[in-house]
C-alpha cells in the first residue's frame, strides 16, 4: 500500500513539474477520466435502471436540452438562484462589514450568524413554503436565510484582516477616505468577497434545488424530484448532469476568468532567484 501511495505521489509530483498547457490540462483530464471510469465501474455493478452509464445519461441530457424543457426549468431555477444569491450577498456583505468594523455590531450579530449557520436548509425551505406557499419567495427566502450567515463570516473575516499597516501608511500620507476605500480597502477585501460569492452561489444552487423539490411547480429541483417519484432514475441522473454542467460552466466561464483578471498582480509575480 505504501509502495502504491509513493508511486501515486511521485506521479503527481511529475505532473506538477510539467509546464504550461500540459501542466494545466493533464491533471484536470486525469481527474475527469478517473471520475468517468468510476461512474462506469459503479454503473456496471448497479442495475441499469438505478444507475445508467455516463453515455446514456449524456444522451438523455442532450435529448432533454433539445426538447427545450431544460431551458424552461433552468431559467426558473436560475431566477430563484439569482434572487436568493443577490439577497444573501446584500445581507451578508452588510452584516459582515459591520461585524468586521465594529465590536458592538460583532457582538450583536454573532448569535444570529451562529444560529443561521446551524439551522438546516430543509427547515428554512419548509418554513418558507409554509409562509409564502408555492410562490417564488419560498425558495428565495430559504436561500437567503441559509446562505447569508456563510457570506457574512467570509466578509467579516476579510474586513477584520484588512492590513492595518497599509491603512496607517494611507493615513500618514493624508490619503482621502474615498481614495483609500477604492484603492486600498476594497482590493484588500476582494479575495474575501470572491470566496464569499463563490461559496454563496454554490450554496444557493443547492438550497434552491432542494426547496424546489417541495416548494415549487417548476425548476431543476422540481423535475429531479418528479423523476425520482416516478422511478425514472435515468431522468433524475440527466437532471443532475444538467446541474453539474451549469456549475462547471459558471466556475470555468465566469469565476476563473474573473479571478485571473482581478488577481493578475499575483499571477504576474515570479519567485526571485
Amino acid at each position: 500500500m505504501t509502495g502504491i501511495a509513493h508511486s501515486v505521489a511521485a506521479a503527481f509530483a511529475r505532473l506538477e513539474r510539467l509546464d504550461g498547457v500540459t501542466g494545466a490540462v493533464v491533471p484536470r483530464l486525469f481527474g475527469l477520466v478517473l471520475g468517468v471510469a468510476g461512474w462506469y465501474g459503479l454503473a456496471s455493478v448497479f442495475p441499469n435502471r438505478l444507475m445508467p452509464f455516463p453515455g446514456e445519461t449524456l444522451a438523455l441530457t442532450v435529448e432533454l436540452v433539445a426538447t427545450g424543457v431544460v431551458t424552461e426549468h433552468l431559467l426558473a431555477t436560475s431566477k430563484r438562484i439569482l434572487l436568493g444569491f443577490a439577497g444573501s450577498m446584500v445581507v451578508g456583505v452588510t452584516v459582515g462589514t459591520l461585524m468586521g468594523l465594529d465590536d458592538y455590531a460583532r457582538k450583536f450579530f454573532l448569535p444570529y450568524v451562529v444560529v443561521g449557520m446551524s439551522v438546516s436548509a430543509v427547515a428554512w425551505a419548509a418554513v418558507g413554503t409554509l409562509v409564502f406557499g408555492f410562490s417564488v419567495l419560498a425558495p428565495v427566502a430559504a436561500t437567503v436565510l441559509t446562505t447569508f450567515p456563510f457570506v457574512t463570516v467570509h466578509v467579516w473575516k476579510a474586513v477584520e484582516d484588512v492590513d492595518d499597516d497599509l491603512t496607517r501608511m494611507s493615513r500618514s500620507f493624508d490619503v482621502s477616505l474615498p481614495r483609500m476605500v477604492r484603492r486600498q480597502l476594497l482590493p484588500d477585501v476582494t479575495p474575501g468577497l470572491f470566496s464569499a460569492s463563490r461559496f454563496g452561489l454554490a450554496i444557493s444552487w443547492k438550497i434552491v434545488t432542494l426547496a424546489e423539490m417541495f416548494a415549487a411547480s417548476n425548476g431543476v429541483g422540481y423535475r429531479l424530484f418528479k423523476a425520482y417519484q416516478r422511478f425514472r432514475f435515468e431522468e433524475a441522473w440527466a437532471w443532475a448532469a444538467v446541474f453539474v454542467i451549469v456549475i462547471l460552466l459558471i466556475e470555468y466561464g465566469v469565476f476563473r476568468p474573473l479571478e485571473r483578471r482581478v488577481f493578475a498582480y499575483r499571477s504576474e509575480a515570479r519567485p526571485l532567484a
Partner: protein
C-alpha cells in the same frame, strides 16, 4: 501631509533658509492602556538636519515617529512644524515598505498624491528613476526584491516633496550589501533635496554614519542628545568614527 499646530515662529535667514526648527516636539506623552510609551518627550530639529533616533526595541521610537507624522495623536504635548509655518509636508518610509501589492510601482507612487493637479506619471517616473528603478515602473511589488521595494517606498515618500522625511528602520529588513547601497543613495538624495530627516534605528554604527545628530530614547524618555562631530563622507573604519561610536555606545549602555 500633516497639519501642524505651530505658532508662526519662523524667521527667514539671508540665504533664504529658515532658522525656525523644522520639527518642535514639546512634552509629548503617549499611553496605550496603562502602559506609558512616551513620557514628556521634548526636542527640536533644525531645518534640513539629519537626526538619528536610537533606542532599544520597545523604547517608543516608532511611536514617536507615528506621533510626529500624525498617525497617532499624543495624549499630552504637541508637535509643530515652525519652519513650514505649521503646514509641513511629511514623507514616511516604513520598516516594511507598505506598498499596495495590487498596484505597480508607478501606481504606488501616484497613490499618495490624491487629486494633486501638479502630479502626473512623469513625476512618478522621475522619482523612480532617482532611486534606481527606471526600468521597473510597471512591476508589481511581488516582482521586486526587498531592496527594490524599499526603494519604491523611498520614491513614494520623496515624491510628495517632503519638508520632513520620517524613516522607521528602513534598511533593517534588507541584506547588508543592499542596505549599504541604500544608505549611500539616501545620503545623496538628502544632499540634493535637503529635507529634514528623522531616521529611527537601533544600529549605533548606522546612526553615526548617517546623522548630524543622535537622539537616544529609552523607556519612552529622551536621555541623550549628541552632535556627530565627523566630516562627511564618513568611513566606518576610521579611528575617529570608531572612537565616537564607542562613546555613543558607552552612553547608551550607562543610561539606556
Amino acid at each position: 501631509m500633516t497639519d501642524g499646530l505651530a505658532e508662526s515662529t519662523s524667521g527667514a535667514r539671508a540665504d533664504g533658509t529658515s532658522d525656525a526648527p523644522a520639527i518642535a516636539c514639546s512634552d509629548l506623552s503617549k499611553r496605550y492602556g496603562d502602559e506609558s510609551v512616551l513620557e514628556s518627550v521634548s526636542f527640536e530639529v533644525p531645518d534640513g538636519e539629519f537626526v538619528a533616533l536610537i533606542g532599544r526595541s520597545g523604547s517608543g521610537k516608532s511611536t514617536l515617529l507615528d506621533v510626529i507624522s500624525g498617525i497617532e495623536q499624543p495624549d499630552d504635548g504637541r508637535v509643530t512644524f515652525p519652519a513650514a509655518d505649521g503646514d509641513a509636508t511629511v514623507g514616511h518610509v516604513f520598516q516594511d515598505p507598505r506598498l499596495l501589492p495590487w498596484e505597480t510601482c508607478l501606481q504606488n507612487v501616484e497613490y499618495v498624491h490624491g487629486d494633486d493637479p501638479d502630479y502626473d506619471d512623469d513625476v512618478g517616473r522621475r522619482y523612480l528613476d532617482l532611486v534606481g528603478l527606471g526600468d521597473q515602473y510597471d512591476q508589481y511589488p511581488t516582482q521586486l526584491s526587498g531592496g527594490q521595494r524599499q526603494r519604491v517606498g523611498l520614491a513614494r515618500a520623496l515624491s510628495v516633496d517632503p519638508d520632513v522625511l520620517l524613516m522607521d528602520e528602513p534598511f533593517s529588513n534588507v541584506d547588508e550589501i543592499t542596505a549599504d547601497e541604500l544608505r549611500e543613495d539616501l545620503l545623496d538624495l538628502w544632499r540634493d533635496f535637503e529635507p529634514t530627516v528623522v531616521f529611527v534605528t537601533h544600529d549605533v554604527t548606522e546612526a553615526v554614519r548617517m546623522a548630524d545628530r543622535i537622539l537616544m530614547l529609552g523607556d519612552g524618555d529622551l536621555f541623550g542628545d549628541v552632535d556627530v562631530p565627523l566630516d562627511r563622507p564618513r568611513s566606518i573604519d576610521s579611528v575617529e568614527f570608531v572612537r565616537f561610536r564607542e562613546q555613543v555606545r558607552e552612553q547608551f549602555r550607562e543610561q539606556g
